[in-house]
Symmetry: C2
Amino acid sequence: MEGNDVDAVFKALSDLSRRQLLDRLFAQNGQTLGELCRQMDMTRQAVSKHLAVLEEARLVVTVRRGREKLHYLNPVPIGEIYERWIGKYERHRVQALNELKRALEEEHHE
Amino acid sequence: MEGNDVDAVFKALSDLSRRQLLDRLFAQNGQTLGELCRQMDMTRQAVSKHLAVLEEARLVVTVRRGREKLHYLNPVPIGEIYERWIGKYERHRVQALNELKRALEEEHHE
DNA sequence: TTGACACGCAACCAGATAGTTGCCTATTCT
DNA sequence: AGAATAGGCAACTATCTGGTTGCGTGTCAA
C-alpha cells in the first residue's frame, strides 16, 4: 500500500499557492507569517491556513520566537514521495514509453 | 516560474483513487475502462471521470480499439515533476535539514 | 500601562470536486 | 436483426476547499 501520510503531502502540493510558499521558503528559510504574507496577494488568514496545511503534511516545521512564528522547510516528506512513489515510476520510464509507443503505432496502421 | 501544466499533474496526483488507477496500470499497462472498474469499488462513470483527469494531465494516454478504450501510462509528466520540482528540493535536502535542526535546537535551550 | 504588532480562532460564502443515477451510442456476437 | 457489451454524456447532490471578514489573545516597546 501507500505510506500513511503520502496523501496529505500530495494534497498539500496540489495547490499553487502552497507550492509558492514552499518556493519562498526555499529562497529564504525561516520566514515569519508576516514576511510570507507580504509576498502572497491574499489575506494573512488565507496564508496562515495554507501554512497549516503544509505543517499538517510536515512539509513545513515552525518555531515560535516571542510573538513571531518562524517557518522552515522540512525536506523529509518530499524525499519520501520521491523514494516510495515517483522513483517507482521513474525506474520503469523507458519500458512504459516503449509500451506506449507500440500501442500508438499499432493504432495508426491498424 | 513553474512549468505550465505542472498544476494539472499535481492536482491529478492529489487524489488517492487516481493514484490507485496509476498503480493498476503500473501493474498491468493497457487496461480497458471495464477492467479498471472491476478493481475500483465505485461506479464506472466515476472511474471514467478520474481517468479523464489523468488523461487531461497526460499521465495516461488512451487508444481506442473497437468499442474498447485501452489506457497506457505516460511516464513523461512524472519525470518532469521530478526534474523541475522535486529534484530542486532534493538537491538541498541536507542543507534544509541542518537549518531545521539548528532552529529547533536554538529554541530548546533558549 | 497603553498602544502597536504578530498571530490565532470562528463563522461564513462561492466555487470546485467526487460521487451518484439515468439514458444514449457504438461495436461485437449469435 | 437483435441482444449483449463497452463506453459516453448530462444532470444532480453532498462535501471539500480556498478565500473572506471580524474579533480575540499574547508579546514587545515607549
